[in-house]
């Protein structure tokens, strides 16, 4: 879905200030973006790839759904009434909104139709490999091209109209129906996982009711059931005067903490039994997510707290993995003490700490953005060295290090993904605890002060050197644990696994989840690591998806989906006018300058 949000979000951002009477031109512009988006979705093969998957049994394949979801989103956007200032009556949606939606949709449809005509008349496949006859059939609903053109435009218009129509639903209905639809989609997408789940808790009959077969698409009945059930749920919630959150905030402090702890316990207990219920594959995915979460929590300290954008974060992950591998694997080329993983962990920590210092020291006095690119350099250097024939005698070069033994704790052997879930889970809990504990501490404050305004922080008595070093070291150690677990779980490490994209993925996780917010990062990791694995179709578009997500987040929700309270306030308060923002960060900027000015 994110594929469509980026242009949308961008346009929206700008349009915030556009006076209402412009909205025809606006609709046209959105329409063109819509056309572009739809064509891209088709031409990059997303439609083709997802076509294979049925959402609801006889009809509605995911590919087309995806395509027209774009039109829907743009229709919705085009019909969005311009924001009204405090105290003004909100604009009442009227026919003009509908028209805007329809127009946007129509233009989008026209674009898609054009693509269809082009690809059927000329052979573009030599250049754009995805424009296959198969795609043509899909786009044309199996009609003749001539008929298809009008059909596509018609459908797109209708969908755009539908998007606009959202504004005509009374809010409470909207808040009930939209999530309902969303859940239908979720059920349809994660069909095998959900099947697994109900199977795991011994409710196969639910699966049989909802899906044609285990892992199969939803039946019509199933879809309706899910839709009604969830809509009803949200309808009921919509009826409440106050949201859960508000009522939660009204609770007295100690009861609130009790609730939080209770909630945390509940979540953990659920997570605890997850692998047993979910079977090996889902556990495998959860393990991966857990390992990335471990890294994300580390980077969250470096970036979220200390404000140091480290793009070479994967290096610490690699250090952890390789240190553990060398110390535990009988096949480590140079020297292999064949310790157990537990025995190796202290050394992993030390190695990571050293690596942290090595990376941090040169960048101590560097501008934020230079720091980013230098750390990126370090990350790549680490990978290349591990892969090099030069150091192969120590790291095994391209052959990597294999036969890393399973994790042994006393009598217990952890082998299967389900087993590994336990230690990974524990490490994550500890890491999360450390993150929270440190945040409230003297050093946590020092880091945040440094993030806010380095030179003032120093003038207020914070030793920038130690602050930066400590941030890097803590982050490095967390990542290295991730690496150690990763290696022993897969049983082998290859340089190939420590690519820059790992750093980027971790970055995306904390951006999407919300910098500095532990729950946010957790959800981010689950969503971004689990999703591509569970939806094999997605995996090919994973990084396209990430990229768009990064842009969209920065444009619409820079504080992340589950922001830490502070960031939320910081970035979304009326009190904070743009010029204030400029003033504040302008000073931050000039602050850096002072530090540099002395150079």
């Amino acid at each position: 879905m994110a594929d469509v949000e980026a242009p949308a979000a961008a346009v929206e951002e700008k349009e915030l200030l556009a006076p209402p009477e412009l909205d025809l031109r606006r609709a046209v512009r959105l329409g063109l973006s819509n056309a572009a988006a739809m064509v891209l979705v088709a031409a990059t093969g997303i439609v083709g790839t997802f076509q294979g998957r049925l959402i609801i049994d006889p009809f509605l394949p995911l590919g087309l759904l995806f395509l027209y979801l774009v039109a829907w989103a743009f229709g919705w956007l085009a019909a969005k009434p311009p924001p009204t200032l405090e105290g003004f009556a909100p604009a009442v949606p009227g026919p003009r909104n509908l028209a805007a939606g329809a127009l946007t949709g129509a233009i989008g449809g026209a674009g898609t139709a054009l693509l269809l005509v082009l690809m059927t008349t000329f052979n573009l496949r030599g250049i754009f490999i995805e424009l296959s006859p198969g795609l043509a059939d899909t786009l044309s609903f199996g009609l003749s091209v001539a008929a298809a053109v009008s059909a596509i435009v018609a459908v797109a218009t209708a969908v755009g109209l539908a998007g606009a129509g959202v504004y005509f639903l009374p809010p409470r209905w909207r808040r009930a129906l939209m999530p309902g639809l969303m859940w239908v989609l979720i059920f349809a997408l994660f069909t095998d996982m959900i099947g697994q789940f109900f199977g795991g808790i011994g409710l196969e009959f639910v699966t049989d009711l909802l899906f044609t077969s285990r892992g199969g698409p939803l039946t019509v009945v199933g879809a309706v059931t899910v839709f009604v059930a969830f809509s009803a749920l949200y309808w009921y919630r919509g009826g409440r005067k106050t949201t859960l959150r508000q009522r939660f905030d009204l609770l007295p402090a100690e009861r609130r903490t009790r609730w939080t702890v209770g909630l945390a316990v509940a979540v953990m207990v659920i997570l605890w039994f997850m692998p047993r219920i979910m079977g090996p594959f889902v556990s495998q995915v959860l393990d991966n997510a857990g390992i990335f979460l471990l890294m994300a929590l580390g980077l969250n300290i470096v970036l979220g707290y200390a404000g140091l954008l480290d793009l070479g974060y994967v290096a610490f992950f690699a250090v952890g993995a390789y240190t553990a591998a060398i110390l535990t694997s009988p096949l480590s080329p140079a020297f292999s003490p064949e310790l157990t993983l537990i025995a190796a962990l202290p050394f992993v920590m030390i190695a990571a700490a050293i690596a942290g210092v090595i990376v941090a020291t040169p960048v101590l006095r560097m501008r934020g953005d230079y720091l980013a690119i230098v750390t990126l350099g370090f990350g790549e250097i680490a990978r290349i060295l591990l892969n090099s024939a030069w150091l192969a005698p120590y790291f095994g070069g391209a052959q990597g290090i294999t036969n890393i033994p399973d994790l042994q704790i006393g009598p217990l052997t952890f082998r299967s993904p389900q087993d590994y879930f336990i230690p990974i889970f524990l490490f994550v809990v500890v890491a999360a605890y450390i993150t929270l504990a440190v945040q409230k501490s003297r050093w946590g404050r020092a880091w945040m002060a440094m993030r806010e305004d380095e030179s003032v922080a120093e003038a207020m008595g914070i030793n920038i050197v130690t602050a930066k070093l400590s941030a890097f070291v803590v982050g490095a150690v967390l990542a290295s644990f991730g690496g150690a677990l990763f290696g022993s779980q897969i049983g082998s490490v290859f340089p190939h696994s420590f690519d820059i994209v790992v750093s980027i993925t971790v970055l995306v996780i904390i951006i999407v989840g919300g910098m500095g917010s532990v729950p946010g990062v957790t959800v981010g990791a689950l969503a971004l690591i689990a999703l591509p694995n569970l939806l094999r179709e997605f995996s090919e578009y994973q990084f396209l998806f990430y990229g768009v997500l990064l842009i969209a987040m920065m444009l619409v929700r820079p504080e992340g989906f589950i922001p830490s309270k502070r960031r939320a306030q910081e970035l979304h308060t009326e009190e904070l006018a743009q010029d204030d923002w400029l003033a504040i960060y302008g000073q931050a900027g000039s602050g850096e300058q002072v530090a540099e000015g002395t150079a």
Binding site: A10, T44, E130, R365, Y370, Y546, G547, M554, L555
Partner: protein
């Protein structure tokens, strides 16, 4: 940066030199010794003939001039907006990719063989148009809405943009690696003042120099150029002076994009093969070049580009080989990255110095 920690006056007591400063000095010295000793070793070993050294150098210069063209995009954008346009490498890649597509199309026609110059110009045009368009769109969608946001935010967006472009291209033309059609007229060598140089390399170097020169004139002489410099000096004031900042910024992106486009087309001549990921490394190296030459400094970009090109083509054979490191050319990129790191640590303001007004963003 280091001087910041170094004593204000040479007469300062040693006790006042912070550990960081000492460490960095130490680093400097080590780097120097390593390089010198390595080069000495490999030269004295006489492993490579003069001709081979010359080849490496010429090649370094030609690659370097491509980097230089890309570097312009970084240097100009950084000069104006004070952030690293991470996606610029991808802008370059899209240019190269469209150059490939057009060239491939032309190669099937007779024009390619009969009139290479014209067809090359068409290719050049195509890649310039694409890159410019991409650069402008990215600015419009991903950066403009973020004016005045904290520094890291546009940086992160640009990382996002970079990945988006990469994988859109991957989706469109597939992951396979494309091989440029060859221009027969550019095979073989020319003998220039006794230097035997590959024709393609000559073309690349000359073309790069021409673009640089014209860009320099554009920025220094034209009205638009002046407004660019004004904006990079101080956006607020420029705006007060009645300069349309937004339009100027778009121009900056457009020009940067066009240059990347040229680079893309030339790339096809030097390395007749690319895929959707080919923009990443040249991007990083070009950024190094930009910093090395001095951010916001056009002449600097050329210098920086060439030096980076030389580092990576001569560096491994010169320094690493001196230590008999096996398969040292694997470490080619390590050399490039180390150059980046060292430059940023020790000369963040570049050879020719930055053309940055004191920070206001």
């Amino acid at each position: 940066m280091t001087e910041a920690t170094a004593p204000a006056r040479p007469t300062r007591r040693a006790s006042r030199i912070t550990p960081v400063a000492t460490f960095l000095w130490f680093l400097r010295i080590v780097a120097l010794v390593v390089i010198l000793y390595g080069s000495f070793q490999s030269i004295s070993s006489g492993r490579l003939t003069a001709a081979q050294w010359r080849d490496l150098i010429v090649f370094g210069v030609s690659t370097g001039s491509v980097y230089a063209l890309i570097a312009l995009g970084y240097t100009m954008v950084y000069g104006v907006l004070r952030f690293i346009n991470f996606a610029h490498g991808e802008v370059f890649m899209t240019g190269a990719m469209s150059a490939f597509l057009v060239a491939n199309g032309l190669a099937t026609t007779s024009l390619w063989a009969s009139n290479p110059v014209l067809s090359l110009l068409i290719v050049l045009l195509a890649s310039m148009v694409t890159s410019t368009a991409v650069a402008v769109i990215v600015e419009r969608v991903a950066y403009r809405p973020l004016r005045g946001a904290p520094r890291l935010i546009p940086l992160i967006t640009s990382i996002g943009a970079s990945f988006t472009i990469q994988y859109i291209v991957r989706g469109l033309v597939g992951p396979s690696t494309k091989a440029f059609p060859r221009v027969e007229q550019l095979r073989g060598t020319w003998n220039i003042f006794g230097l035997v140089i590959l024709k393609s390399q000559v073309v690349v170097i000359v073309a790069a120099l021409l673009m640089m020169a014209s860009l320099y004139l554009f920025v220094e002489r034209t009205r638009t150029g002046r407004s660019m410099r004004a904006v990079s000096e101080d956006p607020e004031t420029a705006a007060l002076m009645g300069i349309n900042v937004d339009r100027t910024i778009v121009t900056v992106f457009a020009v940067g994009g066009a240059m990347a486009g040229v680079a893309g087309a030339l790339w096809g001549l030097v390395f007749p093969s690319l895929n959707f990921f080919s923009g990443f490394l040249p991007g990083i190296k070009a950024f190094t070049a930009a910093v090395l030459g001095g951010i916001g400094n056009i002449v600097g970009a050329m210098l920086g580009g060439v030096s980076v090109g030389l580092f990576e083509s001569v560096g491994p054979s010169l320094v690493l080989a001196g230590y008999e490191i096996p398969a040292f050319s694997q470490l080619k990129d390590v050399v490039a990255y180390l150059a980046l790191v060292l430059v940023l640590i020790f000369r963040p303001s570049g050879i020719l110095g930055e053309r940055l007004a004191t920070e206001r963003t």
